[in-house]
């Protein structure tokens, strides 16, 4: 490969004093001084959250207002920083709405001081019950406050549309299906 030696243009005297460059710089900064501001006034103005944003992990209800989580603990297993802690529980047979689901979380804690917002819990969830939604601001005065418990997770998560209604279908099959 041929080596092309490029002559560096010698600096003129003015350039060597730096003064024109300094003046140019001052001009640029002065332009910015009077230019319109580009920042958001955060608590009053909120940024628009893009689709697929990974915010605080939350638990969601199905459109019928039933909890979707069956406490399979896959999220707890996959969670890289071990932020999720679930205590599984049995749904008693006398609960008309949910008895057929059999299992649900007795307690569901996500330690937001450990959470790294990786979204693996959402990816692994077989029931589509945990979602990283657009909540991005978590704060608290104590460590205990930074642990989201089940009721808080449902409050943050709200209700999301459901494509399957898996457990409703299960119940319908139980009622109309080919039982003996």
């Amino acid at each position: 490969m041929a080596v092309i030696t490029v002559e560096r243009k010698p600096l003129t005297f003015l350039e060597r004093t730096y003064l024109p460059q300094i003046a140019g710089g001052l001009k640029t900064t002065f332009k910015h001084l009077i230019a319109p501001k580009k920042t958001l006034e955060y608590p009053e103005e909120r940024p628009t959250i893009p689709d697929g944003y990974r915010g605080v992990p939350t638990l969601v209800m199905d459109p019928n207002g039933r909890e979707k989580c069956v406490s399979c603990q896959l999220c707890e297993f996959v969670c890289p920083p071990k932020a999720i802690r679930i205590t599984p529980g049995e749904i008693p047979a006398d609960e008309p709405d949910r008895a057929h689901v059999e299992k649900g979380p007795k307690a569901f804690d996500i330690d937001m001081l450990r959470c790294i917002y990786c979204g693996l819990c959402q990816e692994v969830c077989p029931e589509e019950a945990i979602f990283l939604q657009n909540q991005f601001s978590m704060s608290g005065y104590t460590r205990a406050e930074m642990v989201n418990h089940k009721d808080r997770l449902y409050e943050l998560g709200g209700t999301l549309p459901d494509a399957h209604f898996k457990w409703d279908k299960k119940k319908a099959a139980e009622e109309h299906g080919n039982t003996h």
Partner: protein, 386 residues
């Protein structure tokens, strides 16, 4: 109508005047810290601090909101924080000198103010009386002498902190301040050469310099900044270096020295260093304006006397000493504040020099330039005044 003022004892009068100056300098230094944050924010396309507000000011309809957006109450908030936060004293420091250092920093900063006239008025005979705490004949020398003491505070702080970065910072500080003091002094000499014509009683006072810039005629009304641009330039650059402002703030360069000589300081003691730095800037800007910027004269070729003469046609009380005094002070302070804005503007424009570059500029560029400048003006002035 203010004759009674001159009848109170001199000591009391000077005390009141001194207090007045301190009461002005301190808030301005505080306001400068706020202005620094606001200018920084604006240059970076941000709104800057705009949250703090005193509740009863918030009730004022538009003004309250405006003041809040301007961030003026952050000065109070900052000051309050500085006063009330824990004043920690590290275990490994030399306690006496550690506490002494910020005090030593404040002394030269406030003492130099004594020699700087802030304005002027005309006595009954039409003679210009500079408004300063001490109308010293050796004004310039006094400022140089006292302000260079400021370096001792940095050396004390760096040494007493008993840790690496403060020590390195203080060593840099002393070297840098000595390097630029030379060219600064040499740059000022032509001004006084010109002012003190052979045969006249010599003076190093600022009053005489401003008076010289107020003379009628083309050369007389022209400020020294135009007559001696190179001197003004060297003085300005040296001033940046002397006050440790960007691009010469190698002393405080947080990237390589953490916080330099005030690494170990916090709370009010740190605040004193901070105020001292701004006081230095104010005094330095004042000196620059007095020497090269026409002092309290509103415009080149328009002296204060001329301006007052014009105003006399409109305002009946224009010749009153009080009005003239306030007018001159306003003009002068306006110029000083413009200078301080310039300091900040440069800060957010130029990156910091490396320490070796600072030394190189100081010794290899500024010093020869100032010597050449001195020689040139010595010969020129000798020829003109022959």
């Amino acid at each position: 109508m203010f004759d009674f003022y001159f009848e109170i004892p001199l000591v009391l009068r000077l005390f009141i005047q001194g207090l007045a100056v301190i009461m002005v300098i301190f808030p301005i230094a505080g306001a400068c810290s706020m202005a620094e944050r606001k200018v920084a924010a604006w240059i970076q396309d941000r709104p800057g601090p705009n949250r703090a507000i005193v509740p009863w000011v918030a009730w004022i309809p538009f003004l309250g909101k405006f003041l809040q957006r301007l961030g003026v109450f952050h000065v109070m908030a900052d000051g309050g924080k500085m006063l009330f936060k824990e004043d920690s004293l590290p275990g490994h420091v030399n306690k006496f000198y550690f506490i002494l250092a910020p005090i030593v920093a404040m002394i030269p900063a406030l003492t130099t103010v004594v020699a700087v006239p802030f304005g002027a008025y005309f006595d009954a005979a039409g003679k210009v009386i500079p408004l300063g705490l001490a109308p010293l004949d050796v004004g310039m020398l006094a400022v140089f002498a006292v302000s260079s003491l400021g370096v001792y505070s940095m050396i004390l702080a760096g040494w007493a902190s008993n840790s690496k970065y403060p020590f390195l910072g203080s060593v840099r500080a002393s070297a840098q301040l000595i390097s630029y003091e030379l060219s600064m002094t040499l740059a000022v000499l032509p001004v006084f050469l010109w002012v003190n014509a052979p045969g006249t009683p010599g003076t190093m006072g600022f009053g005489a310099v401003v008076e010289f810039q107020s003379q009628p005629g083309f050369l007389g009304g022209m400020w020294f900044g135009f007559l001696m641009p190179v001197s003004a330039f060297i003085f300005l650059v040296a001033l940046f270096a002397e006050t440790n402002r960007q691009p010469f703030d190698t002393v405080e360069s947080e990237a390589d020295l953490v916080g330099s000589f005030h690494t170990e300081y916090g709370a009010f003691k740190w605040g004193l260093f901070f105020v001292a730095e701004y006081s230095h800037m104010i005094v330095g800007s004042g000196v620059f304006m007095l020497l090269f910027g026409g002092g309290w004269n509103p415009l080149p070729w328009v002296s204060l006397a001329t301006a007052v003469g014009w105003l006399g046609h409109i305002l009946p009380f224009a010749h009153a000493p009080l009005f003239v005094g306030l007018l001159s002070i306003s003009i002068f302070m306006g110029k000083v504040l413009a200078m301080i804005f310039f300091f900040m503007w440069v800060r957010w424009t130029l990156p910091r020099f490396r320490y070796d570059q600072v030394m190189k500029i100081g010794w290899q560029k500024m010093l020869p330039l100032s010597i050449a400048n001195l020689l040139f003006y010595a010969i020129a002035i000798a020829l003109i005044q022959k």
